[in-house]
Every structure is written in C-alpha cells, then in structure tokens.
Symmetry: C2
Subunit: 616 residues, 2 copies
C-alpha cells in the first residue's frame, strides 16, 4: 500500500468552495462526500471516485464529511485497517458498527454550531439516506442543503478528473438470460398496474442491464452501463444513455426480443421527468435507493418508494440463470484447482507473490469457456495482509506467498452464464494449532449456515448467528456480514437480500431460486485472516412436516473448490460436519474432475483428488 | 370460552358517532381502536378495555379498525384461534406476521375512498405508531385525525363503562429495590444533562413505579399506578396522580429516601406541560412510545424521542434485584413442585380442571414468603386448549386435566423481591411419539438459546433462530417470539429487550444483569400445545478468547422447575443436551429441595427427586 495520500491542499480548496457563493447560496459548515455515483453503485467508474480522491481511502464503502475543523470518514469493519493506512493525518476514521460510534447525523448534530448548513450533492445520495439525515439534522436545528449545480469535489478535482467511460453496450442472448426483455417488461408492467403506478423510474444500473438483457463495461468488474430507464403504463420504454454506446446489434436485439425502446441522451432524464411526471394519472414508482435529486422531482403523495419490481425479479433466478450460475461455478472451480495446484509447487521457489499469484489465477480463469473478466479485484493476501478484510495487493504491500503464513484468496469471475465469488484460505506449510482452531470454527459456521433448514421467506438476518456461533463459543467473531446476493453475469454484490446481523431494509425474505454467499471468517489484526466463501442456491428442503404450509427451504452449495482438510482440527468437528465435508468433496471430484481432465490439467486433477480425500 | 360477543348494535352506534359533528369536525371514514391505555400499557384496567368492549376479543394485543363497511381486528399468532372464537361475524380477523398480510396503514390506504379521514384517540396511540401511520395515510391521500375531545368507544360504552381504579400506592423498601429513588433520579438527571435535556416526561407506569420505588394496584397483575412523572433539570420531580392514592407512608418514604416530589392531580399533566415546556431552555425528552397526544405538545425541534433513561436503567438489574429475582424463582419453583406433585395424584380422580388446577397452584404460591399475587392470569390448558397460545380457561371452555392429553401451564407470581413467569408442559399418562418428538425439539431449542455464548450488546433478535432451529429441522415452527424482558416486582413483560425474529426498535442489546424469558413452543391447532419457559439472567461467559475486548455473555437459568423427562426422545438428544439437563435437574434439587423440606412438603420433595432423576 502506498503512503497516505496528502490531502491538506485538497481540503483547503474544498473548504474554500464551501464558502464560495458562486456555488452555494450561503456558506456551508459541512459537506458530505458519499461513496456512490448517480446510480448509487457500489463499484465506481474512475470519474466517480470522489470520496477516494478527497480522502485517499479507496475501499468500496465509506462516507466522508468535511467541516471547517474536521475531516472524518465513516466506514465499516472490513475497512478499518485499510482506511487508517490510506488516509493522512487530516482525516479521522470513524468506525461504523462499533458500539458507541455516532452516525453521521448524530456526529454533525453534536459537532456543528446551531443553525449550520450541511451540503451534499443530491444526485449522489439516495433518498433513503437523505431523508432521515435531513430529519436528524433539522431536529438539531441544522439544515441539509442539496448542492445540485456543481459537485464541489469535482471542482477541486478539475482537470485531473478522469473522463466518463464510453464503452459500447452488448446484447446478452436468450440462451443466457432465459427470458426476453419484452417478457420481463410485461411482468414489470403487471406489477406496476397492481400498485397503481403509471410510471417506473429505474436508476440502478444492474436492474437496467437485467431487464433489457444488455451488458456494458462502464464500471470495472460490473458489466453495466450508465443509463436511466423509464417505463410507463402505456408500455413506453425510454432509455437514457449516450447514444454512442448503442450499436446496431443492440437495436436488432430489441427488435428480436420484441421490445420497443426509445433512446434519449443520458443527461435528459431530469427534463424528461419534469415534463412527463405531471402528465401521470397513476403514481410514480422510484426506489428509495434512487437519488434524492430524482426522487424529489416527484410530488410526495404521488410517489411509490419501494424497491422496484425488477430488483425482486432479478433476485429470483429463472431456470436458465440457475443452470448458468451452476455451470459457471464448475468452470470457475476448475480454474481455482489449477491455481492452487500450481501454487503448491511454485511456492517452494519463493517467487510467487500476492500480485503474481492473482495474475496466474486470472490466466487460469481466462482459459474457461464464456469467461469475460474478473467480478472484482482479487483479494490475494498473505499473513497479516489477510486480516485486512477487503485488501488488494499493491506493489508496496505485495507479500511473497510462503509455506510460513496463511494465504487468503477471495476472487471471482464474470462469465456469460454467471458471476462467481469464492474464497479459500490455505496454508502451504505447517499451520499453528491456533490457526487451525480458528479455521475449523469458520468452517463449522459455514457448514451450519449452509446446511440449515428454514421457513420460506424468512429474512437473511435470522440466519446470521448460525455462521457465528462456533466462533462465539470461544469468544471470537468477525466484523462483516455473512452473505450477499449475487448476479447472473451481473454485479457480484446484489440486493435486496443478504445475511448479516444488520437487517436489510428491503429484504423480501429468502425464496427458492435466490443465490447468496456464505462467507464467515476470522481475522487477527497484524497476523492472519481466514475466510471461507461459497455461493449457495436456495432450494426446497425435504422435511417430515410443513408447518402452516409455509414451505421449508435449505441451501445447495454451488461453489466446488476443496476446503483444505489439514487446516481442520478433527476433535472440534461433529460427525455431521465430517460427513458433510466428505460429501462436498466427493461432489467437487464428480463435477470438477471431468472438466480438468477435458482441459488437460492432469496435475490439477491430481491435486483435486488429493485435497478431497475423505477424513474422519 | 363464551359464545362470540354480539357487536352489531355497538358498531351501529360507533358508526353513527363517527359522523356526529358534535364529536368530530367532519365525518370519519374509519376509526381506530388500539389496545393500549393512555400509558401504552399492555395489561389494562377494566375501564380501558375499549378494544375488547367493541370487538369481543379479549387478548392482550390487537388493534381494531372500524369503517363504514368493515370491522377488522389485527392480532398476532398467539391470538388467532382465540380471536376467531371471541368475535362475531361483524368482525374480520387480520393475521399479523403471516406473509401477505396488510398492515393497518396499507389496508386503510387500499380500502378507503380517496381523501378519507381516519380518526383515533391521540392519547391511546403512541407517537411511534401514529407518525408512520400518518405518513402512510397521507401518501395515499387520506388523513389521520386526532379525536381528542371524547373517545368514541367510551361514548358507546357510556354508563356501562367501569370506573377507574382507586387503590393506594405502597412504598417498596430499599431491601427490595437496592437503590433509593433519590439516587435513581440523580442518575436520570445526569443522563438528561448528557443529552441536553432540561425536562423528561415519563408516561410508562412501570418506569414511574421503578424510579420512585413505589408500587400500586391499578392494573391487574402489574403492580403499577396511574400517573405521569416529570423531571426537570433543576431537580424538580412532579408526580401527576389522584391524590387519594398517596398515603402518609408514601410521603414518609420520599422523605426517607431524600426525594422532593410535588404531587399534582393526574389530569393536570396537559396544562402543566403547556405551561412549562415553553420555559425549557434545553430539550424535552419523551419516549416515542408515549402517546401522540402528549408528544405533540412539544415542538418537534425541541424533542428527544429515544426511550427514557429509566427504561434502560430498569432493564439492567442491580445486585439486590438480581438476588431478589433469583430467590423469588426458588420459592416460585417450590410452589410449582407442590402443584405438579398434587396434580399427579389428583388427576386420577378426574376432578381437576384447568380452572380448579390454576386455583390450586395459586394456593401453593400464596404459601410462599413475600407473595403478592399472580403476575398474569394463569394459562392452564389441556389438549387442544393448549394450542391457543394465550388461552385463559373460562367456565365454558374449562377442560378436565386427564392422563390422556398434554397439559400446558404458564403462570407466574408477583413477590416483593421479584416477578416470575414459568411454563411447563407435562403428560400425566402416555404421550404419543409425535408429542414427544415435538416436546424434545422445543427442549432442544430452549437448551440451544439458554446455553449460547454471544458478544456483549448484540440485540436479542440475533439469538431467536437458535431456539427455532431444532423445530425448523423437521419443518415445524411457532408463531410467537422467544423471549421478553421481565421486571423486578414489576411488569411480567418488560421492554426494551426481547428475543424474536422481529427486531425491537429500541433494543439496546443484551448486557450483564438483564433478565429475559426463554420460551420456545410448538402448537398443533385443535390438538395440543407445548411450551417450555424459563427466566434467564445475562451473565459473563468464560471464553478462551475475547475478540476486540467486547466481552462475551451467556445465560444462567434462574427458573428451577423440572422438565418432564418422559416427554424426551433420547435419540433426538445430543450428549451435551443430556448433560445440561442432568446438571439443571441437580440444581433444581439443590435449590428447591431444602425449601420444600422446610415448608413440610414431603410429597412434593419426593416428586422433585423422582422428576429430576438423571437420564442418558
């Protein structure tokens, strides 16, 4: 990791802009720089990395607040170490999720002089975040001011700011999507009718990509494209996008799928809405995860602010998507087997580092059919770097993979038929007893969650404790959630579902056909990190009873990469856990073995068989 | 249970009042009748049972909504059977917690003609309930109107309405409270200063009783008294109460504890607040669980609406309260042992019924030192009645306790040193294999929750699944929460903590010194009910590690009544569960045995020893 970014001059400029009446009607006492872009994306195009630019902190989640006196960054447990290394002394790290930590609203309310004006770019803050913050600040005698004309960080950035991406959009064939864009829009229209909505405004990029069966390349790792989509009750579909991104292939695709789409310039969304909202006889539906700026265009009484029907439809995979995700995970497992088999030999030469290892893994992925790219920057981390939960190796921090330290590798691929995300932690020498015990408890948690049976539609937070209990039993825990939704050749983190001690505001409950990750971990700062991550599919459970006809569900693990058995302490395992692991390993052999053979990776196949020897 | 209450005439009168401009400025299209009183109490004095009066449904939770066309009652899974039996055909039962059920707001928004006026008595609805309902209704083009002048149900009730209770208030000695009211108020003042509050308005009756070290008898089972309390930053303590309830003993008690209290008539709270709120230089603290009527008296910007500091202080028991609760549970266990021993013999004569059994149990409780009364109406339920989760036997439903059916007994006592709440389910003949399997899984859930280790301050909802998992494993579940807080000679249900799949809005997380119930169950409609309920104390856990110095906690079970071992299926139990049960039963012998001997209950002592024979 580089030395902290010097931010003194940047903050000085920003503070001066906060008082410059060319950009603000009255001076601001605080300015909020959120993490997201105008679509509330988690991963960002370079031109949208404003919070990283101003603070130096490059993690995927975090909000910066700059006042005349202070510059503070809120982030969660995944990023405490990284943020403290990346930020210089001008910045104070505020640790979310730690008891006693103030929220941004509470902090601002407490620190600012009465009657302060807090500014933020209304296009970058979701309505769901803006509204309670506004209420909180107003209750404390302050106000939250939308600074819509110019983003103050962009003004500081000025000439240095990267240009927006210009890549073209590609159609995704029915063989991968399983349902035409026409049929998807029909389903959306039927749900709009049910809610009395005559207009739906879609701002989440993965929702637009999914419903139109298109993919793009505007944001690294996420195959999406900058756009807005508006669907009206009279079946008009309006797509707001830079026209240069729409090729002939895209127009033919709409024709083939029977969808009429009118194309508008990206920046015309505001004027279009201002013109057409007043015409609406029904209500206007916009997710409260959309920006405050767009949401505020709709009269409050006319709004529906629930998550969009697309968000829910996308979360429940159709049979083609299910098959695609399953297949993609087999190919992805083959790539990982090749990598780990190669690494086992190469490590002895002492030349493989976190970065070169990650590159090698990428090469093995590239060999796989329908491979498009990585689904996120590979977390390839050795020893103490493994404790930085969302670590990404840089030349300055790059550590050699050795037989002395644990190696945590969290990676994933984008394939035309699915997105993958898998973490394995291995030791290529002799682990300590303590490392083994921690690993065993992480495995037990993963088993407990992965094998549990639960009533249909319960929310993911109800299952979180299952994954933590074996760690809690000995006074350990981990400071991140346990699971996230995942897209079908879309974003690696996909709402509205997940598994965490936190409740998700829009969680519709777990249903057959959903996919989530199952990834407990344990991290010892300065020493090591352990995480085991599988993707699991929600499937019906076979139970002797079916209370109140609710339907009971369980998980099927579709990630098929061996768990390193030498890291397990047999005495800490139950019989059930041993037989679950042996069954899982038999499945890895059965599903991944033939592919390795077909690809001619004999050594990797031998490694797979060695690593999946039954235990117990 | 009696036949359903005929409500046709009552609804006719109510609907006519809803249009009578003597009481409403414009006709109402709907009127909401909540369950609570002006203090949002769960248990009610007879004069406050408005929802039961209008609907016939007598359960402790439920909200009625009357429109011109419909009369609907929302209640939760504990009461579905009871409500459907108690209400006549004028009423529709709406089942909360069942997927797809509309909330009151959503139902009203959907059913009412646009622009409807929904009325409710603002003193009976908490701010926390009123505000989102108002937002929801306004978004749908309706309005929520406070009908403050007269409660419309009271007008229907008229002459028949019972008079308010007039019992006197009693001081509770320091030997039971462990802390003087003066010191408690000092702690409150210090927390007010921390929040910048110059006035605290306390409306919850148990909070007032606790902070003043007083107890009353205005509400059955809850030793509280109707009052409001206002504490101001200059240490003024104003108690609003019918002066007839304040005896010389109470005045001396304040003197002895060094607390200056000024007494005002109960109904002067509004005028007092109207006079003194404008004088406040600091903010005014009122829990958002207080009524909308009182909360609305405070300018929004001046309000703090978090739960009161008293609510939190009360939840963490002090050493004297901990010892008192522990002791009360030993005496309470002795009474239950006497009852079950007696019942085992008497059942053969075929003369014991649910009601006569409950009376006998009450007699055994009366024998115990410091006994005051029951902490709630005993749920004494045989066979199918056991499936009515909050069943109370009535002459019409009273069933004989036999050797043929399961018997579920959920009861508790108020003692000067503590409140108890315990459920045991027993079979006095030969249970079916299915009954045994269900019982065993309920026991496993209770064990899993009761023995778990967890990080300090995690919220109770994170633990709920532990109690359900053994049932989920075979496709079973129960439709109620798993645990509630409990008072120290106060309300048997006490916030702000609990264990449920639902999150509690004000849950501060579990801390050492808190007490909650641990009560999984299983209910088969029309057949039987099983519930096992213990009270557990939150204590530090001894773990080999202590991640991030968070401190790990576990539970110590203070309820000491044998679990019927013949109901357990040994093959479904793990070794850990068997040894936990044997240890628990050894503790029952050790703690309760000597007391039974001292009280001369030789037969009960023999029963205790028989029922606690080690298994496995």
């Amino acid at each position: 990791m580089s030395p902290p970014k010097p931010t003194g001059q940047l903050l000085k400029k920003l503070r001066s802009l906060m008082k410059n009446i060319k950009y603000v009607t009255e001076p601001l006492q605080a300015y909020i720089i959120p993490s997201g872009d105008a679509h509330q994306s988690e991963y960002l195009a370079d031109c949208d990395k404003r919070r990283a630019f101003i603070s130096g902190f490059t993690g995927s989640a975090g909000t910066a607040v700059v006042t005349e006196q202070h510059a503070c960054l809120w982030t969660d447990g995944r990023y405490f170490l990284q943020a403290s290394k990346e930020m210089d002394d001008n910045w104070t790290l505020i640790k979310e999720g730690v008891p006693g930590t103030l929220t941004q609203g509470a902090w601002l309310a407490k620190m600012l002089p009465v009657g302060s004006r807090v500014g933020a770019d209304p296009s970058l803050v979701s309505y769901a975040t803006w509204k309670p913050l506004q209420t909180h600040l107003e209750a404390a005698g302050h106000s939250l001011i939308p600074i819509a004309g110019a983003n103050l960080v962009d003004l500081v950035w000025d000439q240095e700011k990267p240009l927006p991406p210009t890549g073209i959009v590609q159609p995704l064939a029915l063989a991968y999507t399983g349902k035409s864009s026409h049929d998807k829009v029909e389903d959306v229209l039927s749900q709009m009718r049910e809610k009395g909505a005559s207009m739906l405004i879609v701002t989440a990029l993965d929702e637009i990509a999914w419903v139109l069966n298109l993919r793009g390349s505007d944001i690294p790792y996420n195959p999406v494209f900058f756009s807005y989509l508006v669907i009206t009750g009279n079946s008009q579909v309006s797509l707001f996008i830079d026209e240069g991104k729409i090729t002939h292939a895209v127009r033919s695709h709409f024709g083939e799928e029977g969808l009429q789409v009118s194309i508008h310039p990206y920046e015309k969304i505001h004027s279009f809405l201002n013109e057409h909202i007043p015409e609406q006889e029904g209500r206007v539906w916009i997710s409260n995860n959309s920006s405050y700026g767009l949401t505020a265009l709709i009269p409050e009484k006319q709004r529906i602010t629930e998550i969009t029907p697309i968000c829910l439809m996308k979360a429940v995979k159709n049979p083609v998507e299910i098959q695609g995700l399953t297949n993609a995970h087999i190919r992805d497992a083959a790539a990982l087997c090749c990598y780990f088999a190669w690494l086992e030999k190469e490590v002895l030469r002492g030349t493989v580092t976190e970065i070169s290892g990650a590159k090698k893994l990428e090469e093995f992925r590239k060999e796989q059919e329908d491979y498009v790219g990585l689904s996120f920057a590979t977390i390839s981390s050795v020893g103490p770097n493994g404790a930085i939960i969302h670590y990404q190796p840089s030349p300055e921090t790059d550590r050699t993979i050795t037989t002395e330290e644990l190696y945590l590798c969290d990676s994933g691929g984008q394939y035309l038929d699915g997105t993958t995300d898998v973490t394995r932690t291995i030791h290529l020498g002799t682990p300590t007893q303590y490392e083994k015990e921690c690993f065993t408890r992480v495995f037990k948690g993963q088993f407990s969650l992965g094998s549990c049976i639960f009533p249909s539609k319960i929310k993911g937070n109800c299952l979180d404790t299952l994954a933590r209990k074996p760690l809690w039993d000995v006074g350990l825990d981990y400071l991140h959630g346990t699971g996230h939704g995942i897209g079908a050749y879309l974003n690696v983190h996909e709402g509205p579902i997940g598994v965490s001690w936190r409740t998700l505001p829009d969680d519709p409950g777990l249903q057959e056909g959903m996919f989530i990750s199952n990834e407990p971990g344990y991290y010892e700062d300065g020493k090591f990190g352990i995480r085991l991550e599988n993707i699991v599919r929600v499937v019906p459970a076979s139970t002797p009873h079916n209370f109140k006809d609710r339907g009971f569900l369980t998980f099927e693990t579709i990630t098929l990469v061996p768990i390193q058995t030498k890291m397990l302490v047999p005495e800490v395992l139950t019989e059930k856990e041993v037989s679950y692991l042996n069954d899982y390993h038999a499945l890895c052999r059965e599903k991944v073995g033939p592919l390795l053979k077909k690809l001619g990776h004999q050594e990797a196949r031998e490694w797979l068989y060695r690593e999946t020897e039954p235990i117990g």
